[in-house]
Amino acid sequence: MRKNYNYAKRKYVIGGFIALIAIIYGIKLYDLQISDSKYKESADSNAFLKKTIYPSRGLIYDRNGNLVVYNQPAYDVMLVPRDVNQFDTIDFCNTLNITKEQLLKRFTDMKDKRFNPGYSSYTPQVLITHLTAQDYGRLQEKLYRFPGFFIQKRILRQYNIKSAGNILGNIREVNAKDIEDDSYYTAGDYTGDLGVERSYEKYLRGTKGVEILIRDANGRIQGKYENGAHDIAPISGRDLTLSIDVRLQQYAESLMVGKHGAIVAIEPQTGEILCMVSAPGYDPSLLVGRERGKNYKALANDPEHPLYDRALMSSYPPGSTFKPTQGLIFLQENIITPGTAYPCHRGYINGGLRVGCHGHGSPLALKPALQTSCNAYFCWGFKNMIDRRSKYGSSANAFEVWKKHLVSMGYGYRLGVDLPGESRGFIPNDKFYNKFYGQGGWSANTIISVSIGQGEIGATPIQIANLCATIANRGWFITPHVVKKIHDTIMPPDLTRKRYPTIDAHYYPTIAEGMRMAVTGGTCRKANLPDIEVAGKTGTAQNPHGQDHSAFIGFAPFNDPKIAVCVYVENGGWGASFGVPIGSLVIEKYLNGQISTARKGLEEQMMSSRLSYTSAKKKK
């Protein structure tokens, strides 16, 4: 009897053991395969290399169809960190003409989450940007020796002109905040910085495409996934046509050489900005490519602030260019009629207050007051309005009415120009003065200087130019803008809609005629061109920090305006000394295409004059 019955039961222990193991494994497999989806994602991220295909960025043309900004391919060295093994660093450095230290520095920077918040060892990272064509060629040939590395084609901007940096802007690599704000971006992408590159970024950038490649365990690409069936083709960015006339822009810039200030010219019927100069400016090509960082730093630290767009961001006292607004308000509020005359005995003298003026006849009506830029006239008008309790109840109420009219004309708030960084200027309200002087503690005389564009008033050159365009249109304007057309799409309606200030249109001709008189026989006589009917208004803005600012607004031709211009030259002195000549030259150049020989001397004088800005401090 061999069979050992005592132990036969143990077959159940052994059978039970294997069944138990099978059950445990079954549960584990259920867990791996069915409950947990992370493995599917891991497998996909292993096998599929999603390669971004960058669309070409939209081109930029000027209003006459001249190509201004275009693209040039650039090459970045990319790598997927976990695919990179030991490689011949010396060979690599020699190929790209860099030192080993530079390479190591790039690796450290790449892995530093402060510089590169999107770092992951599984996704492509940028190692070196902007290879030259030669470096690109050399590296491309040797790339097989450096597994994990690849070359990404990108786009660099190229410029046909050395001007209009403030309008065009530039592109830069996205930073951590951009990536956080817009999921479109990943590290190494480019985005618009300043100018239309920024404000039209969504149109210019296009849509990225994706190419799905199959990658094996050694990082070798085995071809396209399902022959590219799941690839997404990139969509090129939309081209822009600017309203800027490049020739006029370059000409205007040449007139502003050596001066600080701004020129804005607008086509009144369309609100299109013909030129917008901020002086001093910069060459947009400086902010392209590898040297961008260095150049950007230099520009940002430049004491003359070339990156600061004075036309758009600077809030200047408008000075006498403000007077047309006052005339309009007084007419609308029935404070005056075109025939109302106010006395001026070398100034406005009331209640122990004196605002100086210069020699001219007295009393004056509105048009001659504009012609001669009489301070007293507008002070009287202002006093009669603000202190008219019978109509408004209080100075504060009257002031609010006054302010609302100005706001409707585009002052005190952003106009909505299609460029980033626009300043709103400044028009105070009653609360501002209540805080300053106490409730009811102020009247017209307290704040009389605002009536002649001084004191608390601040306006950007573009707001001043917009006023000029409104007068040229005799009562309406379209938000000034620098882009005339976005290809294959319509313009935003806000940039094509007519806006009507709260002044009735029939008051405008009086103001326009006054401005015409200023050119024919007033403060702007230098703008009196033989073949073009120009209307204008000078401004000499007192400046607590130094020499007066020289300003001018003007439009032409008088009966069918094609251009409205604002010139603002910091510390330029009288409006007639810089504002009027420069403004008239811009008008002449735009309308005639050239400067008459008689005025070549003036042109030469404007182009060659230099203002000193370091010694001009503290004069008044």
Partner: protein, 489 residues
């Protein structure tokens, strides 16, 4: 023992066709999996002998021929030549490291022209035969003499030792499965239990060092609970009476709560370790008292188990803490406690990704990205289960597991129905090899066991492994087919 000769027709009728069909299904599923695992997009031809799948088909053909020949050999021949076969194979194992070229650090492959064979795979059936022969000796009872143990263990240890010489740790460990056979033949279950319990204590105390429970590592806490549960379980199994279990539980509970309250009242913090140790000592004192009272030996066994477990637990912790950090790291990586995605852990991680990404129904035949793009290493040999998991999904993996479960349970049934000790022991040996390979291979692929490189029988590519398992199975089938011819024993 008397047997009559068996004729071909009887043999054919008495063959266990269920096992043969299982075998055929598995080898064919294996070829298909190997084809999928080594499929190359560029040049795909299933029957090309250049491909792994084609080569495997050739091995299968030869295996079937081999199986047929094995069925023709009389059972008595296997019994008669068991020791000579064992000795020859052991000699072969002995000389292998001197003849074999170095392939990936191991010297286990004998190269005959285009064919390479691994003698270690053939040691499986030889050892099984030798063990069966030993047990079938006249009046051989394992528990009768200590020397019987020595002889049985020697037969098992010798191939382990020789294969370790070839640096094939995985194959060598396979033979440990034969201790299950000793258990079936009478070895105390305490040995297996002790081994299992040691492993549990070792893994748990190293793995769960973090959060703290009652001011001790959570691993220690749970081990104390497990040890207490084991004491109670053993008491119940040996004693079969509730009274003692109840006494222990009540006594310990009262002691624990009493101490707790007392400590709380006195405002003293008692370390959890001290509390647990005193509970176990208290229990042991009670058990010794019972042992003296009832003269039952098992009380000593239980008390001994408890004390040894606690001592072992503390020594593991102590030893582990005094290892060098890199040594600790190695142990943790081998146990799969540490993610080492570049080294050993890379394989397991990729293998889990492959299986996990299969989902319920898999990505479809030849559509697995993990395996096609070679993320999983050794995917046509040790990691073949990944391909099945990725392409056939949970349904595929479950089906393969059920096939193995069916085969193993069937082999156990065959073993149990043998009238001879030789047949039974041999059958158990076969079953235990399959159990070991199944548990370790699938366990390592799904990340439950350390990575020990052994193949999945009938699925993994490789002639030696296929032949080794075919020989094991067909000798058993031959013995089983002839069981009715045993006239007397």
């Amino acid at each position: 023992m008397l047997q009559r000769r068996i004729n071909a027709i009887e043999l054919f009728r008495n063959l266990d066709w269920f096992t043969i069909i299982l075998y055929l299904i598995m080898v064919l599923a294996g070829v298909i999996s190997i084809y999928a695992a080594s499929y190359d997009y560029d040049n795909a031809s299933m029957l090309s002998f250049e491909e792994f799948s084609g080569k495997q088909l050739r091995w299968i053909g030869l295996s079937l021929a081999l199986g047929f020949i094995l069925l023709l050999i009389d059972t008595r021949m296997y019994e008669a030549y068991a020791y000579p076969i064992y000795i020859i194979i052991m000699l072969l194992l002995l000389i292998t490291p001197f003849l074999a070229p170095d392939i990936k650090g191991s010297r286990s492959w004998l190269v005959f022209g285009p064919v390479s064979l691994q003698p270690a795979e053939f040691a499986k059936f030889a050892t099984a035969l030798a063990l069966a022969k030993l047990f079938s000796g006249y009046n051989f009872l394992l528990n009768a003499k200590l020397s019987n143990y020595a002889r049985a263990i020697s037969i098992i240890i010798l191939p382990i030792f020789l294969i370790l010489m070839q640096k094939e740790t995985g194959s060598a460990l396979t033979f440990l499965a034969l201790f299950f056979v000793l258990y079936r033949e009478g070895m105390s279950g305490l040995v297996l239990f002790g081994a299992l319990f040691s492993i549990i204590i070792f893994v748990v105390s190293i793995k769960y060092t973090d959060p703290y429970v009652l001011s001790m590592a959570s691993g220690q806490f749970w081990l104390f609970i497990i040890i207490m549960a084991t004491i109670l379980g053993m008491l119940f199994i040996y004693n079969r009476r509730w009274s003692i279990v109840r006494n222990v539980m009540l006594g310990d509970l009262i002691f624990a709560i009493g101490t707790w309250l007392l400590a709380d009242v006195c405002g003293v913090q008692i370390p959890g370790t001290a509390l647990f140790i005193s509970i176990i000592i208290l229990t042991c004192i009670y058990l010794l008292f019972e042992a003296v009272r009832t003269h039952a030996r098992y009380f000593y066994v239980i008390a001994g188990t408890a004390i040894l477990s606690v001592v072992f637990m503390f020594s593991v912790n102590f030893a582990f803490d005094h290892l060098q950090p890199h040594q600790q790291m190695r142990i943790r990586v081998v146990l799969g406690l540490e993610e080492d995605l570049r080294g050993v852990g890379y394989n397991v991680n990729q293998s889990k990704i492959a299986i996990g990404s299969g989902g319920l129904t898999g990505k479809g035949f030849l559509n697995g990205t993990q395996t096609k793009l070679k993320y999983v290493p050794e995917q046509h040999t040790d990691f073949i289960f990944c391909t099945i998991g990725e392409e056939e999904g949970f349904i595929g993996t479950t089906a393969v597991m059920l096939l193995f479960l069916a085969l193993i349970l069937r082999v156990l049934t065959l073993a149990e129905r043998q009238p001879t000790t030789f047949g039974r022991v041999y059958g158990y040996c076969v079953a235990c090899y399959f159990i070991f390979h199944f548990c370790i291979n699938i366990g390592m692929v799904i990340g439950l066991c350390p990575v020990i490189g052994i193949p999945l029988p009938f699925f993994s590519y490789g002639g030696s492994s296929l032949w080794g398992f075919t020989i094991l199975l067909f000798i058993l089938l031959r013995i089983d087919a002839g069981r009715k011819q045993v006239l007397s024993y």
